[in-house]
Subunit: 206 residues, 2 copies
């Protein structure tokens, strides 16, 4: 994965097969998780929030792990796309070739769907952390809770689209339906919670 | 501004005064705009979309400009925060010092509110480009239109919070109200349009 922000954005905008929307989804989740860390770091140690100290330390640890995990998933998304990209161009002249391509496609689609599914679950976890921080984080950085929850919400919905483009192409509809149901559930619960947290932030900023 | 993605995320999560939510808002907008460029680059030249060729070239040019502008705003947000951060710690022992601090604070707040206001408008422009791409971009990258519009929506709402935290502290309520009305209008129109575009994407992915 390209590590320079400017070059990453340049490559994203180009015709290059990676990075794409799946990587951006995970990256947005990593930014959201980092904002959760920031809010913890700027709250822990303040006498006014001493009662939440232990809870905030636990949130900080989760946020740091999530941020690393989401950034790693942004890279994995690129790696997972490669075998799928290769599978698309396999020959289909003989029946054997067709059967082989179908098998490789199916396996590649499962890998390509798994990365955004994990990114979606990670984004959901960031939203849950933000719910805690909205009422326990320092009010001086309440807007950062709001930004973090919006990043996680965007990451969740973006990741869900990347699950769906892959399940749509699967021949194995049993697996596809399980994955679709799973992502649908995480999206519904996550968006509802994210919007509640955002409204709490707006109220607290008044 | 820190240019390495991993280090940017690390610094974001730390106690350091910058980067913060304002920079993340602009960065999300830059990622959204880059996805608009990508969709254009993967559609232009395809016979199936030849009728949109000129329109897509214009969208590409706007997307490239917006992506650069938003990335620059992520940097500007850090610079704009510095004078405000310094103003907070000015002495207030004498009446002269109090008056001076108030003036410096007021000026710094206007600069600090202006950057996210421009970021919010840029995010709105990205949403407008995505509306065009939802029906004119290659269907092979329709999910990237969906990711792009979610990034722009998150950028818009995140930037709006950063306008509000600054206008809230302004003594000049005339200017504060103008800025608040302006951001409220952009948010309402932008979120409505973003949700419409996202639903169009979902329909097209079925």
């Amino acid at each position: 994965m390209e590590n320079n922000i400017e070059l990453y954005i340049e490559k994203l905008g180009s015709k290059a097969p990676t990075p794409g929307g799946g990587g951006v989804a995970a990256l947005a989740g990593a930014l959201g998780a980092a904002l959760a860390s920031m809010v913890c770091n700027l709250t822990i140690g303040k006498p006014k929030y001493a009662q939440y100290e232990n809870e905030l330390k636990a949130v900080l640890e989760s946020a740091e792990n999530l941020s690393k995990k989401m950034l790693a998933l942004a890279g994995e998304d690129e790696t997972a796309f490669e075998p799928l990209s290769r599978a698309y161009s396999l020959p289909t002249e003989t029946d054997e070739q067709k059967a082989y391509k179908e098998k490789v496609m199916e396996d590649s689609l499962k890998i390509a769907a798994d990365v955004p599914l994990r990114a979606a679950k990670g984004a959901f976890d960031v939203i849950v952390l933000m719910e805690r921080l909205a009422t326990r984080g320092s009010k001086l950085v309440i807007s950062d809770v709001g930004v973090g929850v919006q990043m996680a919400r965007a990451a969740l919905l973006s990741a869900s689209l990347n699950v769906k483009i892959n399940t749509k192409l699967m021949k194995d509809r049993f697996v596809a339906d399980i994955l679709n149901d799973e992502i649908e559930y995480v999206v519904n619960e996550g968006v509802k919670l994210a919007d509640e947290v955002y409204n709490t932030v707006l109220e607290m900023m008044k």
